[in-house]
């Protein structure tokens, strides 16, 4: 690891004042420290923001606000979250390990980098790590890679579970930029597709801070599920995951939400399938039809064709679990 300066800020504006291109914020450090050890991130200085940002869930007029520094464990156990947005807790608990969740912050989870193995190996070409060097995964070991939304430049997926739930729930990200201005970014617009700039994971303005994540009140607290498929039962990143939520009126679906991890460079919404489910009866046949719509236009790479049937199965399973079937 490259030697670095370390300081701690107790307020957001103080932290923002210290930020420039060679400075990085550190929250729980569960991703950043690994990136520094592997020489993928090489900041000259670190600003510890763990005391500079809100760390609670608060009720707001529109819904709730999750403080950027709220630890993943605390969020998953929070009474408000469990009562109003249990899908968030389910997604968090499907990720990482208790120890990592105890350290990991809400904002850090959004900003964690891909787990593409080439990205982590500085001896191999990778456009995300070193723009222009090439993508090792597209014709290499791409079992974990994307099946939608990728480009020739990068086929990586975003690894977060929490973000899949937040995408399904149409959350938004509250950002403080360098001048102290606050801006709210819709979750769907927060993460990016790789296009020609795979080095950019998201649309967080340069040197800005995430202050909070907001979720507007919604009717999905009752029927929701998070299904994650991985190479072992716990403590592994998703091959594919599905966050599903249904707003039901009797057995009619008023509205459905479906999002997935392990599919693309950003949490992936299955909008066509959601649209299909709207107004339909909540039954297995319709769930299967929705799953078939979701997987229709996916484009697997050389080693991840299995993700298509797996997604179909995972979507059906998640929708059934929404009904406790």
């Amino acid at each position: 690891m490259r030697p670095f300066l370390f300081s701690k800020s107790s307020a957001a504006n103080q932290a923002l004042a210290k930020k420039n291109h060679s400075t990085q914020f550190i929250a729980g450090g569960t991703n950043l420290v690994d990136l520094m050890k592997k020489h993928i991130a090489n900041p000259e200085s670190l600003v510890d923001i763990s005391s500079a940002l809100p760390n609670k869930v608060e009720n707001t007029t529109k819904g709730i606000s999750i403080g950027a520094m709220m630890r993943n464990s605390a969020t998953a156990n929070d009474a408000i979250i469990l009562a109003k947005f249990p899908l968030v807790a389910k997604a968090i608990l499907a990720g990482a390990s208790p120890q990592i969740r105890n350290m990991a912050s809400a904002a850090g989870n959004l900003l964690q980098r891909t787990r593409c193995p080439y990205f982590y190996d500085v001896t191999t070409p990778c456009n995300k790590r070193q723009p222009g060097s090439g993508c090792s995964a597209i014709n290499g070991e791409n079992r974990m890679s994307a099946v939608a939304g990728y480009s020739e430049q990068c086929v990586a997926v975003h690894p977060s579970d929490l973000c899949v739930a937040l995408a399904a729930l149409d959350a938004s990200v509250v950002v403080n930029d360098k001048d102290g201005k606050t801006q709210t970014i819709a979750f769907q617009d927060f993460h990016r597709l790789p296009g020609n700039t795979p080095q950019k994971d998201n649309n967080l303005p340069a040197n800005a801070l995430i202050r909070a994540i907001e979720i507007a009140a919604n009717p999905f607290a009752k029927n929701n599920a998070y299904v994650k498929l991985r190479d072992r039962d716990s403590y592994a990143f998703a091959l594919v995951s599905v966050a599903a939520a249904l707003h039901l009126n009797g057995d009619k679906i008023v509205e459905a939400r479906l999002a997935s991890g392990g599919v693309a460079h950003k949490p992936w919404r299955w909008l066509a399938a959601e649209k299909y489910l709207k107004g339909k009866t909540a039954n297995i046949a319709n769930f299967e039809a929705a799953a078939n719509i979701a997987i229709k236009d996916l484009k697997p790479l050389s080693h991840n064709g299995f993700k298509i049937p797996m997604l179909k199965g995972a979507i059906e399973t998640a929708l059934k679990q929404c009904l406790d079937l």
């Binding site: 690891m1 490259r2 030697p3 592997k38 020489h39 787990r115 193995p117 080439y118 982590y120 190996d121 001896t123 191999t124 090792s136 014709n139 290499g140 070991e141 079992r143 299904v227 498929l229 991985r230 190479d231 072992r232 039962d233 716990s234 403590y235 592994a236 990143f237 091959l239 064709g305 299995f306 993700k307 049937p309 797996m310 179909k312 199965g313 995972a314 059906e316 399973t317």
Partner: protein, 738 residues
């Protein structure tokens, strides 16, 4: 009351690990944890290419880092006499002549070593070293490379393999297993200190201190006794510590170079390519039986990966000649050189790989024959004699393992046809397989020191890598002496103690047990010698006639003739009484064949929509002769079974042929089972002593716990779904697409 309360009772007996408290409190020190005055730190820099020659190494930037003491490369190194020229390098059999060559054989091969005051400085400086190479073609894809290597006979053909064509039913199939990495929790580490020009002290992680001693004595051309190796606590090995690896030599070279004690600990990424792995394997089996289930024969072909600088043959077809009678048998093998580091023994080496193919094929055959797989195996077991060398077994209770396991799992509930038990999206199935291992024994020594109060210390150089060697030595010493366990201390893992073989191949307890028995006999005779001075009845007493207790010595005669240790010590002016004795295999090896065995059963569910496999129950029953320490033995078995789950369902070291590289080198990507992947493993033992193998009657258990596990799981997946999956690991994608 908590999990760790004494009364907690899973497998019953209260035989605590002698090292347990030290381990869980942190008082026990692993190799890298010793404090040594003046210690500095070495960090290895790996090659970024997989094949070629080093043209130039640029260390200038690294040298600017504060605290740097020196940088070792092939151009700047203390010459190791044992690696002085090509002939010596060959003879040394170290594998990689670290820093004594400019050739690159695999990516990650150490090309430089930074020595600095702190680990942080050394690590940072190491990241600044760059090299230029002349690259040559590299191959790391086993599946592609194996086609270029022809098979050659592995052992003698039995009968005539053409007879297989006359079998009523045959199975012919190929099996592939990806490379697996040991990755014990404790990373390999060495602290080296030159006490004098020809005197070396090492704290080292390994599975055999005497082997470390011998290796470096030869390399540095100094007497073995001048090297002290301390490996008192070892955080797992699984075979990775059986060899002496180049990084340990690098550390010793560093200490020589800077004339200070040096510590070198591999990083987790380096653990993936520095201390061996279970090589990738390809196998083809043709197996045939008559309609009554009697095997006609087997043709077993196998290839395993190796490095380009060494030939490692795993012996995959050894197990083919161990469990069943095959009148007609042909085994062929080959090794496939790759630009990867050299593989090595990993738990159940060879047999575990071969057994997966054989036991999968037998299961497949059982469906073709419409025969229960248990019955099919029972019919063909070689219970009378070793099927290859023809010697009668000393003991072989594999049939009892099978019977007991079948009963424990409720085998009768298994449906003979596949895909019969459905629960929503899940299909439920049962599977079983067996495994066996040639049970060995080596020459070992043990010592005993006795105090006036009757407390004894039992000593050996053998390591305890977590297998329970220490507690088992304590149990044997207790049984042989009658002295309370609380008065028996164990010292091990130190080359100053009586020599013993490395701990591997399930030979540890089998070897050291006899030495402890011999040392107790020596102690009895020594005590009797002193006692004879006080009481003539002790003259010429044999060890079997002598009884010891916490307080004194007596005889097995009606009036016992008790003499307290205190009286003996005072009368003879004794301080500490010391004895040492050796023991090893003998004529019994010419009369009998020896094996350990196990039967593995499992019940699992497979999700047809997602490909997820969830193990519900696992039963493992083993014949390990007499069980000396039930808790430690059960722990060995369940740990091995969990390793088997990893092999079956998730462990896989990927490679990238284009880049000549391993893909991934951390625990986020290399998956081994976590708790929720494994049910509580239900372990049982036949527990009948083998009267010939060694005095205590125990046969080794370390390997058989994993030999057969993967096949039992694959066979259960077939029973559940009708999908015959022959490539490991069986990840959810293979289940879905299978």
């Amino acid at each position: 009351m908590g999990f760790f309360d004494e009364t907690f009772d899973l497998m019953a007996p209260n035989d605590r690990r002698v090292e347990g408290v030290a381990k869980v409190t942190g008082a026990g020190k692993y190799a890298a944890e010793y404090k040594v005055d003046g210690l500095c730190h070495a960090v290895l820099v790996g090659s970024t290419i997989a094949a070629g020659t080093i043209k130039n190494i640029n260390v200038d930037n690294a040298k600017q880092v504060s605290g740097i003491l020196d940088i070792v490369t092939h151009l700047n190194k203390p010459l190791v006499p044992g690696l002085a020229d090509e002939a010596k390098i060959k003879e040394a059999r170290l594998g990689l002549a670290i820093f004594h060559t400019d050739k690159i054989f695999f990516k990650g091969q150490p090309i430089a070593m930074v020595i600095a005051e702190t680990l942080e400085d050394a690590t940072y400086a190491a990241s600044l070293i760059t090299a230029e190479y002349e690259k040559t073609d590299a191959h790391v894809d086993f599946d592609a490379a194996l086609k270029k290597v022809p098979l050659t006979p592995a052992g003698k053909e039995r009968g005539n393999i053409e007879t297989l064509n006359k079998a009523t039913q045959t199975v012919e199939a190929e099996y592939n297993i990806k490379a697996e990495v040991h990755n014990p929790m404790e990373m390999h580490a060495t602290i080296a200190e030159w006490k004098a020009d020809d005197k070396l002290k090492l704290f080292d992680k390994n599975q055999g201190v005497n082997s470390v001693q011998r290796t470096f004595a030869k390399l540095f051309n100094i007497p073995t006794d001048n090297i002290e190796v301390i490996s008192e606590f070892v955080g797992g090995g699984f075979g990775s510590g059986l060899r002496v690896w180049p990084h340990a030599l690098a550390c010793i070279m560093a200490a020589k170079q800077v004339k200070r004690p040096v510590k070198l600990m591999l990083t987790r990424p380096q653990m993936f390519y520095s201390v061996g792995y279970r090589p990738a394997a390809w196998q083809k089996i043709k197996l045939g039986a008559n309609s009554d289930g009697k095997f006609v024969g087997i043709h077993h072909q196998a290839k395993n990966g190796t490095s380009v600088y060494e030939n490692f043959n795993e012996g995959i077809t050894r197990v083919t000649r161990l469990i069943y009678h095959f009148d007609n048998l042909k085994t062929e093998a080959a090794t496939v050189p790759l630009n990867l580091s050299t593989p090595t023994w990993m738990r159940g080496p060879g047999d575990c790989t071969g057994d997966f193919a054989i036991e999968s094929a037998i299961d497949e055959l059982s469906y073709k024959l419409n025969m229960d797989p248990v019955a099919l195996r029972m019919k063909n077991l070689a219970l009378d004699k070793h099927p290859d060398n023809g010697m009668p077994w000393s003991t072989n209770y594999i049939n009892e393992c099978i019977e007991k396991g079948a009963q424990m799992i409720g085998w009768k509930d298994r449906k003979p046809a596949h895909s019969q038990t459905i629960d929503g999206d899940w299909s439920i199935g049962y599977g079983m397989a067996v495994g066996a291992w040639n049970a060995g024994r080596g020459n070992a020594s043990a010592g005993i020191q006795m105090q006036k109060d009757g407390a004894i210390i039992v000593q050996t150089a053998m390591t305890d890598i977590g297998t329970g060697t220490g507690v088992s030595m304590q149990n044997i010493a207790h049984e042989q002496t009658g002295i309370s366990k609380s008065k028996i201390n164990i010292e091990l893992g130190n080359s100053n103690l009586p020599p013993a073989p490395s701990q591997g191949g399930s030979n540890g307890l089998s070897s050291i047990g006899g030495a402890v028995v011999a040392a107790v006999s020596a102690l009895k005779l020594k005590l009797a010698g002193y006692a004879a001075g006080q009481n003539e009845a002790y003259q010429n007493a044999a060890p079997a006639d002598i009884l010891l207790s916490d307080s004194g010595i007596s005889l097995k005669t009606p009036n016992e003739q008790f003499i307290s240790y205190a009286a003996l010590w005072e009368k003879n002016n004794l301080d500490v009484l010391e004895v040492e004795a050796s023991s090893g295999p003998g004529a019994e090896r010419q009369k009998y064949a020896f094996c350990s065995s196990a039967a593995h059963f499992c019940k699992l569910r497979v999700n047809r929509k997602t490909g997820k496999v969830k193990l519900e129950r696992m039963v493992t029953v083993a014949d390990g002769g007499k069980i000396i320490s039930e808790k430690a033995a059960a722990n060995q078995m369940s740990g091995a079974a969990v390793g088997g789950i990893g092999m079956a369902l998730m462990e896989e070291q990927q490679t990238d042929e284009r880049l000549g590289t391993l893909v991934g080198n951390d625990f986020a990507g290399y998956h081994f089972p976590v708790n929720s992947d494994a049910p509580i493993i239900e372990v049982a033992f036949v527990n009948k002593p083998d009267p010939n193998i060694n005095p205590q009657g125990s046969k080794g258990l370390g390997e058989v716990g994993i030999i057969g596990t993967a096949a039992a799981i694959a066979n259960a997946i077939y029973n559940a779904t009708g999908k015959r999956l022959r490539d490991l690991p069986i990840t959810p994608d293979k289940v879905l697409l299978g």
